[in-house]
Each structure stands twice: as C-alpha cells, then as structure tokens.
Symmetry: C2
Subunit: 159 residues, 2 copies
C-alpha cells in the first residue's frame, strides 16, 4: 500500500493540519521555516497518496447525541452484505467493524437519550433481517478517537 515515504518535515506539517486543516500553507511555512510552495507540495502529496485526509469532524455531543453505546451483533452469513449496507445507511451508527468471529459485527451508536437507544435495540436492529443482537454496553465517555491518532515520529523518516 505504501508508495511514498514521508519525513519529519511532513510530520510537522501534519501536526499543524491536525489543529486546523484550513491553516494557510504560507503560515505553516513561516512557522516551520519552509518555502510556501514546499509546504503545499507536501500537503498535496500526502493527500494524493492517501496517507491523510483533510476533513470535517462533526461533534455528536454538540448536536445532542449524548448517549453512546457499543453493540455486538451476529449476522446470518447470507445476509451479511445487505446488513452492512443497512447499518451504514443509519445515521445512528458512528462506527462499524467486522468482529473476530466470521459472523460478528461491532457497531457504535449515538442517541439523544436512552429511550432512543432502547428503541433501537428492541425494534431498529431486529427489523434488519439476519441481525441478532448479542449484547451491548454503554460508553460513558470517549477520550480519544481516530481523528486524534497519529503515527509516532519514527514512521516519518526518509528511506
């Protein structure tokens, strides 16, 4: 998958972009002592390589989605694709991953109150053919998510 290799200058640029994806390349260049064009070239290269994505993260809490839960599902194998599509179409689902077993799926869901979660567990999920709820757990608070993740600096060294 990896084609380019990035160095510590790229790493510093990344850190700036993580704080503010719209920070002007000229400003980053000044701060890091680089040429403006160099900064823009490196940003473009990282984006085009697929190493990073400059995007907009919406805060669920701000919009009232204060309840988070992890739900563990078992899915009939012949319905797997349809189930995944159904789950991805649901705005409540903020995370979806395959689980360890061949029939397992894990999801994380967001709701405005416990009643909506209860309804989802009792009616929303069972309404999808082939889905079986194995269990769930409330998530009182999330302290880090993928949007705050970054590889260690050791991964940014020219070959």
């Amino acid at each position: 998958m990896r084609r380019h290799s990035f160095d510590l200058v790229d790493y510093q640029i990344l850190q700036e972009l993580q704080v503010d994806a719209r920070k002007p390349a000229a400003e980053i260049a000044r701060k890091l002592g680089l040429n403006e064009r160099t900064v823009r070239n490196r940003i473009d290269r990282m984006v085009e390589a697929g190493a990073i994505r400059l995007t907009c993260i919406v805060d669920p809490n701000y919009f009232g989605y204060v309840i988070t839960a992890d739900i563990f599902l078992e899915v009939d194998l012949d319905r797997e694709q349809a189930v995944i599509e159904a789950l991805l179409a649901m705005p409540e689902v903020s995370y979806l991953a395959f689980g360890q077993g061949t029939q397992d799926l894990s999801i994380e869901v967001r709701f405005k109150n416990n009643e909506q979660l209860r309804e989802f567990l009792r009616s929303g999920l069972p309404a999808i053919p082939g889905v079986h709820v194995k269990g769930y757990a409330l998530v009182p608070r999330i302290l880090r998510n993928i949007d705050e993740w970054m590889p260690p600096p050791e991964d940014f060294t020219a070959e």
Copy 2:
C-alpha cells in the same frame, strides 16, 4: 451545550468540507449559490461553536498499521487517572473510552504485525501499574469511523 442552531445551508457546507476541509469558501459559495462571505461566516460560526472541527485524519493502514484490536481493561480505581494518561501517551492507542463498569476501560490499538500486538498484551500493558487485561478481540476491518459520521439533516433546521 448547544448554543446556536444550524440550518440546511450549514449542512450542505459541512458536506463539502467533509470531502475536502481546504475547499475554498468561494468555491463552496459558487457550488451552492451563496455569497462567499456567508459561507466563511457560517464555517467560522460552526467551528467556534465547537460543532465541527476541521482536521487531518491519518490513515493507519498507509503507515503499515494493518493490525487492529480491541482490548478490554480493568483498572484499579486509585490508578485510573495515571493509567489514562499512560494510555493516551501511547501512539498505539487509537481509541480510548470508559467502559460500562466503574473500573472498565476499552481501547483500540494499531500495530504493524501480530508480534507487536502480542508483545503489547504481554508486556506493554502489564507494565502500567493498576492495569489488568480482561480480554481482547482482533478487528479484521473497520467500515466506518467517527470521521465519516454526520447527524441526519433533521438536526439542521432553524429554530
């Protein structure tokens, strides 16, 4: 928490920013038939309100972190704060949340190979005083994460 209320125009702007956080306001304005100034004002308002964050998502796979696992921990209560700080300082930890029990923490970790994961489970985690590994599960593939989440359009309606 919610102070402002956003409308469907904001929602459309969000969708543009989710594709490319650096998309010029002028371009978004042209596409949506809005004034440039209006687009910038609305972006600024959403960011300042804390409803959205414009950031840089790093792809773990690109950097060789092809192994993902969920690990369930139990933490001695008097060590909780120190444990959280230790975990947040680890670049392997891409997700950290409180679990349902008063002593439970869930983490998601990324590694370049199974050996590193094994080493982390055997040595890395036990080296943190007060941490007990309750179990773990490999995550074969993640299909959606918080960076792709967005509230439904119903949440964008003027009061």
